[in-house]
Symmetry: C2
Subunit: 458 residues, 2 copies
Amino acid sequence: MTKVRDSALEYAHSNKARFLDELKTFAAIPSVSTDPAYKSDIQKAASWAAARLEALGMKKVQIFPTAGHPVVYGETMEAGKDAPVVLFYGHYDVQPAEPLDLWESPAFEPTQRGENLYARGVSDMKGQILAGLFAIESIQKTSQLPCNLKFIFEGEEEIGSPNLAPFIADHKELLASDIVLNLDSGIIDKDFPSITCALRGLAYFEIRVSGAAGDLHSGMYGGAVHNPAQVLCELIAGMHNAQGKITLPGYYDSVRPLTAEDRADIARLPVDEEKYLKITGAPALYGEAGYTSAERIGARPTLEVNGLLSGFTGEGSKTVLPAKAMAKISMRLVPDQDPSEVHQQLLKYMELNAPPTVRWEVEQMAGGFPSIVDRDTPGVQELSKAFEMVWGIKPGFKREGGSVPVVAQMQSILGKASILAGFGLPDDNLHAPNEKLHLPTWYRGIDVVVHFLFNLQK
Amino acid sequence: MTKVRDSALEYAHSNKARFLDELKTFAAIPSVSTDPAYKSDIQKAASWAAARLEALGMKKVQIFPTAGHPVVYGETMEAGKDAPVVLFYGHYDVQPAEPLDLWESPAFEPTQRGENLYARGVSDMKGQILAGLFAIESIQKTSQLPCNLKFIFEGEEEIGSPNLAPFIADHKELLASDIVLNLDSGIIDKDFPSITCALRGLAYFEIRVSGAAGDLHSGMYGGAVHNPAQVLCELIAGMHNAQGKITLPGYYDSVRPLTAEDRADIARLPVDEEKYLKITGAPALYGEAGYTSAERIGARPTLEVNGLLSGFTGEGSKTVLPAKAMAKISMRLVPDQDPSEVHQQLLKYMELNAPPTVRWEVEQMAGGFPSIVDRDTPGVQELSKAFEMVWGIKPGFKREGGSVPVVAQMQSILGKASILAGFGLPDDNLHAPNEKLHLPTWYRGIDVVVHFLFNLQK
C-alpha cells in the first residue's frame, strides 16, 4: 500500500512543471459567466475540461447544455462495485476581472511571481479542479484507482448556479455517489490545514415601510405624520437586544446548540480577535454575548442590514419628509434553521412591532438552507487523515460564515452532504484583482487528494 | 375717514379688469431664478417691477445689482415724519415650471378658468406684490397715502435668498422702517383669513457612521463586526421616546411653552385631524403626546429623518456588510431655540450614545432661526382689523411649520419681525404644476391692504 502511494506521490512531484503549465492554459481562458461577451470562452473552458476528463480515460464524458452555461460530466466506475463512488464537484467559470487596471499582470495571462501564480480563477477554482484531476492522474499512471469517480463541473457558480438544481434533479441516478467532494474552498492558513464542515444558510428580505401618500414638506407636515424612515430605524433597532441577540420571535428555537467538542474545534482554529480587527479595520469587534468572533461568524445566526434607502440622499440638504423607506435585511442561518421559518418570524416581528401609523411589506429576495457535515462520516475522517499525512498536523474543522448554494442544493436533491475543502488561502484575492494561488500549498493539495482516495479504499 | 376708504375701495373694485391684465403681463415673464437660461427674463421682471414702482410715483427707484439677481428698491416718504414707514418685501422670481406636460395651460401664458388664474408665480408671489401695489394705487388715485412706504423686491427667494442678507446689511438705513410686511404667504381657507405669526427655524445635519475599513462580505464577517447601518438605526431610533418627544440632551430647554392664549389661537384654525389625514394620505397621525397636529406642526419642534443611505440599494440582493451609513436629519425649531445650540445637543447625543464599535461624524448642512411676531404689536393688530373689515371675521393666527430664511434674516439684521400674510390659498399648487390664484380672494386682499394702510394712520 505504501508503495503505490509513494509511486503516485513521486509521479505528482516529478510532474509539477507540467501541472503548472496545464493550469496556466486553463486559467488563460476568460470564462467569465456573468458577461455574455465571454460566451464562447465559457464554451471553450467547458470543452477544455471535458477533453481533460477524456484524457484521463473517463467514460460518458458529455457537455450537457442547460438554459444557461453547460454542465460537464464524466465518470470512471472501474474500481469495482465494492469501492466507494466519489463525486467531484467543480465550476469552470470565473468572476469578472474588473477593475483591470488594478492587476499587476493581466488577469488572463497567468503569471508566476515568487511562490504564487496570478490569474483570475487560479484559486477560485480552476486550480482546485486540477488538483483533483492531477491526483487522479498520478494514481492512474502508477497503479489503479482505488475508488469509482464521477465529475460534475458547472459554468454558473459565480452567478448563483441558477441552472444547476434542475440539472441535478434530472440526473439523480447519473450523479449517485457515496461521497461528494467540493474543493471550492481553502485552508485557513498555509501552515494550518482545515476542512470546511459547515456553511451558513441565508434568508434575504426587503422591508418597505410607507407613510404619507407622497413625499411631504418636512416643515409643513413634520411632527404630525410618522416618518417612515424613523419607523424603519426603530424596527431595525429593535431586531437586536443589548446582548447582540436577535429578537425575532422564536429565532433561536431551531438553532443547534454548540457542544463542547464543537467549541473546542473552533477554538483550535488560528484566528483571534486581533486578526479580525486587523482584517476588517473596525474600531472594535461586536457580536452576540457569550461567543467568540469565530463562533459568531461560523456557528451562530446573524441578522444584518445590507442596505438602507429613504428620502433625499444627494449632496446638500432637502427638507423632505419621505413617503417611504426601504431596508435590505438578511439573516445568516445555522443548523437547523429554515429560511421559510425565518420568513414567518420576520413577518411576526413586523406584525408585533410596526406601528399603525405606517404601512409595510416584506419581500423575500433569496433563501438557502445552512449545511453541516458530520465530522464522524468516513469521507471527512479519511480527508482529515489525508491532510494530517501531508501537513503533519490534524486539520481544523472550520465553519464558513458564508453560503454556497450548490452545497445546500446537492444536499437537498441528492441527499448527500458535501465535504468542502480546497487548497486556496484566505489572502488569495478571490473576486478581487490579483487573484493568486500559492503553489507550494497547491502541490501539497494534490498529495492530499492522492492520500484521500487511497484512504477510502476498503 | 370712511369716505376716503370707500373711494379707494370703489377705485379698486372698478379697476379689477385692468389689475388682472397687469398681473397677466407680470406673470407672463418667466423669471425662473434657478436656471441661468432665464437670466434675461429675471432682468425683465426686475425692470417691470421697477417701472411699476415709478408709475406709482415712487422715489429713489433703483435696480441694485448683487452677486446674483438684482434687488429692486423704491420709496415714498411723503406721508410725513409722524406717519409710520411700512417696508413691503417681495420677490419677483418664480419656481421652475417643470414638469411642463402636467400643466393644463402653458405655465407662462396666464389663463383664467372659472374663478382662478393659472400661471407660474401668480400666487407665489407676483399676485401678492401687485395686491400691495394696487391697494396703494387705489389710495393714491382717490386721496393721499396715510403711511410712508418702502419696497424691496428680490429675485432669489426661490433659491434661498443667497445675496439678500449682504444687501440688507449694506442698506440698513435705506431699509429702516416701523413695520415690515411680507405678503409671501396665504390664508388658511378662502372663508377663514389668517395672519402667519410664526415660522419654524431649521437645523439640518448629515450623520455619517462607519465601521469596517471597507464593505465586507456579510457571510464572512457578519456577526463579529458592528453593522454601521444597524448602529445608525439604533441612534436614530433613540432620538424619539415613546411619547414622541425628542431625546437630545436639553432639546426642550429653550422652547417657549405655549400659553393658553396661544393654544386657543391655534385651536380656532379650521384644521382638524381628519383634514391632515386626508391631505397626507397617512394611515394614521402621529406626534408628540399632549399636542394637537396643528400645535405639533406650528408650535413644537421636531426631528425628522430626511434621508437614509447605506450599502446595497439596487434591485435584488447583495450580501454586503456595509462599511458606512449616512442619514440626513433635520430639526424644525421654535422660539427660542437656536440652530447652533441644537448642533451641540446633537453632538452630545452622539457622544453619549454612539458605541465604540463605530466611528461617526456630524456635519451641519443648513441652519436658520425660528421667528415669531408678537400678536400685540400695532402692525399685527391693524392688519388683523383690516382682515376682519373685509371678511367679517377675526383672522386666525397661524404658525407656519416651514422656514422662510428671509424673514429670519430681516429680523436679525434690521431688528424687525416681519408680518407675514398674503392672499394665496393652501391649494394654490405652489412649486407644482398648475399654480393658480383664486381671484375673488385676491381682490379681497387688495381691500385688506387698503384698510391696513388706513388703519396705521395715527
